[in-house]
């Protein structure tokens, strides 16, 4: 595998990003999609990929968002949005649901982020502002428990500051937990010796290296 540069196009749209994440989830996986943007990944999962969705409020086999008369206040996802139940679903209580997560049984979770550090620290729950009201929910449990933590975010803030950083300045959600980082400008694999770049979008590897303060490593074919 080598780093692939897609410099002859723009950065990924949010929809393209969700589609890319969806395509990267191995067939047969048990997956938890975080609140917000990660939830949209569900729309792009291949039905043939046999993905089972977990929602940490106590369900496996979650189906699409419920519409109209199918909306049931007793059947919601972690974002408190009414959802549906697929054949083969199961319900369980909160301690069992988080045991499933903490015990390493969920193959992939997809989370949003404020910042990701070069060695995979995740900051996604607290802005750190003095008057902010902290609310953690299941973020730390997901970051710590899932076998693979995929993060999807824009690579830069609206002010143009990188969100892939040498060390997070926002309060941490989990240490060294991000295994794959999906952004509009590229896909990154954090690690102790630097960040591997799997592919770029709308920018070259060299330009990316200029704009980020973290050591970027190109993937080179092995063997």
């Amino acid at each position: 595998m080598r780093t692939v540069e897609h410099a002859d196009r723009g950065p990924l749209t949010r929809e393209e990003l969700a589609r890319l994440v969806a395509a990267d989830i191995p067939h047969g996986s048990y997956v938890n999609l975080g609140i917000g943007q990660p939830t949209t990944v569900a729309d792009y999962l291949d039905p043939a990929a046999d993905i089972t969705l977990h929602t940490e409020n106590g369900m496996l086999g979650m189906g699409p968002t419920a519409q109209g008369a199918d909306r049931d206040p007793d059947l919601i996802n972690a974002g408190k949005i009414p959802v549906t139940e697929l054949p083969g679903a199961s319900y369980f209580h909160h301690a069992d649901s988080f045991a499933m997560m903490r015990g390493g049984h969920i193959d992939v979770c997809v989370l949003g982020a404020f910042q990701v550090s070069q060695d995979g620290d995740l900051a996604n729950w607290h802005t750190g502002e003095a008057d902010a009201i902290p609310s953690v929910g299941g973020a730390m449990d997901l970051a710590t428990g899932a076998r693979n933590v995929f993060v999807m975010m824009s690579l830069f803030t609206k002010k143009g500051e990188p969100k892939l950083v040498p060390a997070c300045t926002y309060p941490l959600t989990g240490r060294r937990c991000v295994t794959r980082l999906f952004t509009d400008y590229g896909v990154f694999l954090p690690g102790p010796d630097g960040v591997r770049v799997r592919e770029t979008y709308g920018i070259t590897f060299a330009d990316l290296a200029d704009r980020l303060a973290v050591p970027l490593l190109a993937l080179v074919p092995t063997g």
Binding site: D74, A95, A139, D141, T144, L172
Partner: protein, 228 residues
């Protein structure tokens, strides 16, 4: 003891004293024991510690209890929501204490209380603000923080159906915290859509065995077929 069936939510909560720690079921409004919380508000007990996933939505239920000034402290994972303005105002005014706990740790601490576990090493939150001041131990190369049980004097939960032995079944994701909270309180009070005779729940399908249930209050859902 077999649970006592109350006709009235107000009677079921009438002996909750000031200063009690109360586990309150629900994830958002799913599984929230709205009528029991309303009764607790009317009852007027103050200086309460509430353990619940959220800190109230809108102006009803838990939010109304907070607005009435009855809650001194809340232990929860996700207080801040789009409609948590009551909590937000009290928190910013310094009128309510918050202990923020990761959601899975919250559930596991409640389970530990019900299961007689003295404390447990949990990987969640290691290296974060929420682990500050907590004991950390490395076990097989991984770091864990030591977490303690969360007991309740009372639990207020909602289930779908009870039999007269107190066995409970729940409905879909409204199950959430109910089964673990039922195990962890000295007195568990359950509102249900219906109460039936022994035999109305298959022994294989019981989710909460009656041993954990002290009081049952049948409350018909507002819309038949849909839990309120």
């Amino acid at each position: 003891m077999r649970p006592v069936v109350f006709r009235d939510a107000d009677e079921a909560v009438a002996d909750i004293p000031d200063g009690a720690t109360i586990l309150v079921g629900g994830f958002g409004t799913a599984g929230q024991p709205q009528e029991l919380i309303d009764a607790l508000r009317r009852h007027g007990a103050r200086d309460l510690t509430i353990v619940s996933n959220n800190a109230g939505n809108g102006d009803t239920g838990l939010a109304a209890l907070l607005a009435a000034g009855q809650v001194r402290r809340i232990v929860c994972s996700f207080p801040r929501q789009t409609d948590s303005w009551v909590f937000d105002r009290l928190y910013r005014a310094g009128e309510i204490e918050l202990e923020l706990v990761p959601q899975g740790t919250l559930a596991e601490r409640i389970r530990a209380a019900g299961a007689g576990i003295g404390a447990f090493y949990c990987p969640t939150g290691v290296g974060t603000m929420l682990a500050e001041g907590k004991e950390v131990r490395t076990i097989n190369g991984r770091d864990y923080v030591l977490e303690y049980p969360l007991h309740g004097d009372f639990a207020l939960i909602k289930a779908l159906h009870a039999d007269v032995a107190g066995n409970l079944v729940y409905r879909k994701t409204a199950r959430n915290f109910g089964p673990v909270m039922a195990t962890a309180a000295a007195c568990t009070i359950v509102q249900v859509a219906s109460v039936g005779d022994l035999g109305t729940i298959d022994p294989e399908e019981v989710v909460t065995p009656g041993i954990y249930v002290d009081r049952v209050v049948p409350i018909e859902p507002a819309e038949p077929g849909v839990a309120a």
